[in-house]
Amino acid sequence: DAGVTQSPTHLIKTRGQQVTLRCSPKSGHDTVSWYQQALGQGPQFIFQYYEEEERQRGNFPDRFSGHQFPNYSSELNVNALLLGDSALYLCASSLGAGDSYEQYFGPGTRLTVT
């Protein structure tokens, strides 16, 4: 049973560029959440997708956008990259219905903006 997978593993971009990160949820999960983890910090919630809709959003600017596909996989897009966007981007999957709030994380994509 594959867990949460993310691609790519590492990415180096230049300021002002755009980036797309990808996530496949754990088998049986229908909800995907994205987090940004800066060095030495805990993960910060970006947004959550359920049934192809953005259900919750954290305190991140509109430069951060996402999408969820019918197979529950998801993309995170960041436009007009800033140096401060350098971080580990984590995807977590969970079940959208019921009262289970357990989230399972992928290994992350490490983004470096130069």
């Binding site: 949460v4 030495g40 919630f45 259900r55 992928g106």
Partner: protein
């Protein structure tokens, strides 16, 4: 004041020691409390998940929640070098009827268990 406060450490202990990790929080609406373990360059892994005040035990790990003091703890007994990792506390705020929720993490505590 941050919603979740966690001492980042680092914390260094000898093998076999009992480790105590702690978080405090300010939002009394938090309902679920979790502990994640994160090895270097990996994603967080869920260790413990509790709802009510009191203790929950799983092997060498015990999670303790005191809602009246807004304080949660994770105890690790007989600590092993393989326990060396960053430990993150996380708290869930349920929004709008239960299906929507927000997970807020602490900064994490870096633990090293020396052989």
């Amino acid at each position: 004041q941050k919603e979740v406060e966690q001492d980042p450490g680092p914390l260094s202990v000898p093998e076999g020691a009992i480790v105590s990790l702690n978080c405090t929080y300010s939002n009394s609406a938090f309902q679920y409390f979790m502990w994640y373990r994160q090895y270097s360059r990996k994603g967080p892994e869920l260790l413990m998940y509790t709802y009510s005040s009191g203790n929950k035990e799983d092997g060498r790990f015990t999670a303790q929640v005191d809602k009246s003091s807004k304080y949660i703890s994770l105890f690790i007994r007989d600590s092993q070098p393989s326990d060396s990792a960053t430990y993150l506390c996380a708290m869930i705020l349920i929004l709008r009827g239960g299906s929507n929720y927000k997970l807020t993490f602490g900064k994490g505590t870096l633990l090293t268990v020396n052989p």
